[in-house]
Subunit: 218 residues, 4 copies
DNA sequence: CATGAATGAGTCTTCATTCAT
DNA sequence: TATGAATGAAGACTCATTCAT
């Protein structure tokens, strides 16, 4: 979109471009950005070396197009998340995030590889995080106003921390749990709720954590 | 562990090698790994091009030596953390971590840049995380046994999530807060404690979160 | 056998590759292997530096391709040699050998230069010699059976010595004779025949060397 | 001698220089010239890198000194050869040559490696061969005058061929025979004598090859 | 559009040689 | 003399990008 990309004019062209992006993702995830040669992408897509340049001006542009597609999917899968909703919606949101991030973590790592050197990509990642951060911050603020979240938490810092938790967990720690801890998502949700002191919507007027169902001392 | 590195045999050599590592850190943090040329490191250290190769075989080896030094410092600053101790020690531990990570985040990002392509570095980072994870997991388990942490939390998953929170926060979100949110550390500690349901040592027999002092509705 | 070489897919490519091999031979013969830079070959072929790497991975591979072509020609020019035939065929064989070797001696010297360090090339040269040795050994054995060659000569050792004589003569000594001794070939043939005690086919049943026509005391 | 070599002034110096030459020979024979680094020689001699330059100006000079030592030994072992003497002295000469060459072949190959590029060494080898050639030529001429060698052989060409036979045999073919054919020397001598038509000293007036003792048809 | 050959700037890396101690 | 650190010229090789067909 932003990238210097030549849009295909024929159907055959569109097909070629799509398979290039798909191939690029495969190769980037396998080899990282630096170790990927344009020829690798072409080979993976089954086209000639020079064909890549029919659609993309630089290797960075290929990555950007690939990333753009990822982001489209990402926003789509997360977009539905109704962050306005009460407590049990956190579970839903986290589930989506975890799924989406886990699925895309490999390519995102590649983008981070490049973003160390290339400001273009660090900006994209920043935007992504920032917009998410903004929404989570707003949600926390609202919940504080509704008296369902601790007031002594700075909304933005808290949002940053919780977002970091979910993103970071999906990136690294997932791999450590014995074959993808199936409780990962549930645990994250629990931690998120308890960290905020979040209470169910109907008990909004009650002090949080009064319930004995928190598993301590049974 | 010790990279393919030629140890200096004289004092002059040691000095040169040290200044190379120091220069390397500066340049790597400024330019990232891919964009750094061996000549840049040499220039920054004020030595000739070939001198770098007197002590290091490859650019990767330079990074590894630089990383090794970082890790030594890191373990040192964190090593003192007495994770066995009660609730208010979490604050201490987080403070250290946040400080240490924030300080080293730039170089660590560079290491992650490389680790996408180079298994040697992903292994080092994995080890680092794993050993930290192990300690935090053990701590949580102990606290659960002492009845001061929710029993429904899987220790390892929880540890992974909290570690991710601290690491991730120090890496990215820090940059977002206006000039390093001074409450960052305090907030992280609060979140950590509440997420676990952690109670003060002396109230171990009490159900956590009974106190009204958590800032909600006063 | 076929070196790590990328085969051209178009005619233009084939032409370029051929001219590279031809240029390589020229340059190798002029400068030797060590003193030849890839750029020299490219310049001689009138192409750019990197073009060499379109067809060859390393400088060694260029030499191997060049050598392969030499060997093909060599076997071709020698292939016709009917080593089964009687005495006067030795002359024919030697003539061919001498011609072929003299023509290719410069490049072969280069190959020997490299083969001191690179086992790949010493193997090729060994094979070449071995296969020649095998044929000459078989010929001598046959001639012994036919009673036309001294029986007290070990066939293999004898073959090795005579091959060495021809090869070595064509390599070094040629240069010593005033402008390529025109009698070189005739002399070699004489020596070869007399060393074996070889008799003409029709006098096979006669003891060799009975004829007074050998130029001694007339 | 001719080489730019700094003669040692102390005993310790002489010892160091000698061990350097000895080490150089070992390493050159193992790795060839191009693949040998000055450091390898130093390491093999157990001295420091820079020490080599106390005695030699360049790597070529090291080789030349090594070669000089070889030549001294070579001439010594061959020097005694009395080429003036009759037929059975050929055996003696060949024996010496074969022994001397076989023993020194590895280093000589290295010298040939360099001589492709470096005229200094090709001149040395040429001189070596030329002086040998001169003596053999003179011997053959004398023997022709004495009527003990075929008159139809050009002395110089013949000498070149026979020298090539001995040198080449000792270089390559030796390796092919099953563990150094013990008859190699005897066979070479036979071939040499018969090729020339050489007759025993006392039968100088007789036509050569009249004897039935040549193993053919018994 | 697709192809694949050609280009050449860019770097790493080597190592003979020099030099301060 | 010996040491080992420093130098820097030299060259192989890579690969993104261009271009003729």
């Amino acid at each position: 979109m932003t990238a210097a990309t030549r849009e295909p004019r024929t159907d055959r062209g569109r097909r070629t471009r799509d398979s290039l992006i798909s191939a690029a993702r495969t190769v980037f995830e396998r080899q990282g950005f630096a170790a990927t040669r344009m020829g690798d992408i072409a080979a993976e897509a089954g086209v000639s070396h020079g064909t890549v340049y029919t659609y993309f001006d630089t290797k960075e542009d290929v990555l950007e197009a690939t990333l753009q597609q990822l982001i489209d999917h990402l926003l789509e899968s997360i977009g539905g998340a109704n962050l306005t909703d009460p407590m049990d919606q956190i579970a839903n949101a986290n589930e989506r995030y975890l799924g989406a991030f886990a699925e895309n973590a490999p390519l995102l790592r590649v983008v981070e590889e490049v973003s160390v050197t290339d400001a273009r990509f660090s900006a994209i990642l920043d935007d992504l995080r920032r917009s998410h951060l903004r929404r989570v911050t707003a949600q926390i603020r609202r919940q504080q106003r509704e008296g369902r979240v601790h007031h002594d938490l700075d909304p933005q810092t808290t949002a940053a921390a919780l977002c970091a938790m979910v993103e970071g967990f999906s990136r690294h720690w997932t791999a450590f749990g014995s074959t993808q801890d199936p409780n990962g998502q549930a645990t994250l949700t629990l931690l998120w709720q308890r960290a905020l002191g979040l209470t169910p919507a109907d008990s909004a007027t009650t002090t949080p954590h009064q319930e004995g169902s928190d598993g301590i001392h049974r």
